[in-house]
Symmetry: none
Subunit: 367 residues, 2 copies
DNA sequence: TTCGCAATTGAATCGTTTG
DNA sequence: TCAAACGATTCAATTGCGA
């Protein structure tokens, strides 16, 4: 594609607007090869069954909107094929796409990206620092979502601001797992009733990292499932142009109002999430999983008065007590609490070694 | 499936052996519905077309004139379909499967799992604490791999040792992102030249968590891509039976040697924390029958707001309601459900005592 | 005004046994 | 087979209220 053609296409683009309508139709009306980056957060097809209550009997506000309902995997696949094809057409040859999803839909999206010739560059895990727990204790806490970053084709050039991401990460190469809190507090948009304006608003910090890392100032970022416009808001702050497409009028209104308040380089709120760092918590169970202590191995209290055995799940078992290193220590000492890390020792080469030494080893590895 | 049939199937299984051959053929030779857990770490190099073939050794009819991306995916998909179908057949109705992969193949595996009727329970991110950096600085450091945990079908039961995993995580619900170092150091198996024996040996810590969390002692764990036998080694340590399938003789030899050195942990160490759900049910009426509570005695809600009387048949009666401890609690709180055991208290020596204490007494006597 | 505790909430495929 | 009854289960963060 020639430079002239690219510029012509860009001039025909409705920049920094929210377009109403079905994203496939709207994208098909835009000029081919005209967009630098597409960020897409499509419906996840959650397939929820009944209601879910928290242990305190309060009801979980589920994502049960009509836009997330699909009759079958076949229907969802057709939908995915169609919007991805439309997205690919309007992407510049050196453009790229980000999609986000959960295990309900992300495997189908990823496979279809590959089928259509997109070239996956990374999958990125958004690790939520404060996810919703699994209330019934039937599965693991769903603590992450997956993003896929892909170029338009194998061998295509793509924008990657390596140094910018490295500085965002305190001088260390940015990894494929990003720890970012979910969107709540003041950032979470509310409607007139004080309820959340959109059930799945994404945090600006996520978009910030992704736009800084994979676009340049002046680039065009298109979002076919605009919602409340997080991608547009962050693009605007960072001096990129945006195009939003959204079917629901209520969401468009919220996004419009939000965007009117955004100023370029107005991003104080974003700096917070990257700075804080504390000593990582190391569960005792990790020492067992990693083979530093064997299930069945004996631990001895620092004062030499007590002996217990380690179990495969990282609990201890003594003559009349079982539980965590802290619980068992407290029980044996008749104390209200006990720091198991400084209380227990194990034997190596005839010597008593505090288990805290093993925790320090793990922490050293983590840095 | 009847108990007898299950036992018969188990007896026909070659337990704790490494079977030579193509995993699809070997799996098809095993009895249907006989395995508790499958762990699969399949090859994902989409370019290695020669690695893939059908059970009957016929060549898949791919678009194979020139090297062609879609042809390669079609080929890989056929391979995935075949081995997953074979795996599904030998899985017990209440069995489960774990697969692991990277962005090259995991989306195709996940989609095919869903297509075959497996029901995804969680996707899990193995977050590597010491990944290989991206030397060229062209992408993000690939710092994780993805696992998928799925039951055989929607609604099927599956084994999940919630409390054990919670213990491993020092009392906090286990999340879907697991931070575990890559396999190196003494754990990494070397060949006679001192080179690594297998390119993608998985850490035992990963398998430890997964086997403790989703199987019980005595379960059968099958691995169709056994490699150097990490799954078998950890299964053996943890008192599970394993079945390994591996095509390459060199890997089988390494695994065999490795497994011969593994010893099972003490039985006591293999017992893990269990939830209340696994304890025997005690009807509330027993407390009355045994004279622990007298008919006519008053119970008070934990929050102190409600008072009811115990009747001789083990039901409660309040001002405008009667029924079981659970029904009355739920009604008085206007809640969808209520655990009466933790909701009601009685008075002894002027103190409020939870009725659950009496249940614990009865359960203690039962042991 | 500030501190502390209680209440609220978030993309969720979130039971099992008995009769 | 199906309905009814039993009864197990939450983490981090923010907001709001009362002292």
């Amino acid at each position: 594609m020639t430079k002239t053609k690219t510029l012509a296409a860009r001039n025909a683009l409705p920049l920094n607007e929210i377009l109403a309508g079905d994203c496939i139709e709207v994208m098909n009306s835009l000029p081919e090869g005209s967009v630098d980056l597409i960020f897409a957060d499509p419906p996840y097809n959650l397939q929820l069954r009944g209601d879910l209550h928290r242990p305190d009997n309060s009801k979980v506000d589920a994502v049960d909107d009509a836009w997330d309902q699909f009759g079958s995997f076949a229907h969802y696949d057709q939908f995915t094929r169609d919007w991805l094809a439309a997205a690919r057409r309007i992407l510049k040859p050196n453009g790229a796409i980000w999609v986000i999803g959960s295990y309900h839909n992300v495997f189908r999206m990823g496979a279809e990206l590959q089928n259509q010739g997109f070239w996956i560059l990374n999958d990125v895990v958004w690790r939520k620092s404060n996810p919703m727990p699994n209330f019934r204790g039937k599965r693991l806490t769903n603590a992450h979502e997956t993003l896929i970053w892909a170029s338009k084709a194998e061998g295509a050039k793509y924008t990657f601001n390596y140094e910018a991401l490295k500085s965002l990460n305190e001088g260390i190469q940015m990894r494929s797992d990003w720890v970012i809190p979910i969107c709540n507090g003041g950032e979470r948009l509310k409607d007139d009733n004080g309820d959340k304006a959109h059930p799945t608003q994404k945090p600006e910090a996520l978009l910030h990292r992704l736009i800084v890392g994979t676009t340049n100032p002046g680039d065009v970022v298109l979002d076919p499932f605009f919602g409340t416009g997080t991608s547009g808001a962050v693009a605007k702050m960072l001096g990129r142009d945006f195009i939003g497409i959204e079917r629901e009028e209520a969401y468009r209104e919220v996004a419009k109002k939000r965007l009117s308040k955004i100023r370029k380089f107005d991003r104080e709120a974003l700096e917070v999430s990257t700075s804080k760092r504390s000593e990582p918590r190391v569960p005792f169970g990790q020492l067992v999983e990693r083979g530093m202590l064997r299930p069945g191995e004996e631990l001895f209290s620092m004062n030499g008065r007590h002996k217990v055995k380690v179990r495969a799940d990282g609990t201890l078992i003594g003559d009349d007590v079982k539980g965590s290193i802290h619980q068992v220590g407290a029980h044996l000492e008749g104390a209200p609490s006990c720091n198991g890390w400084t209380y227990w020792t194990f034997k190596r080469d005839g010597k008593q070694v505090p288990i805290d030494l093993l925790r320090q080893q793990i922490r050293a590895e983590m840095n």
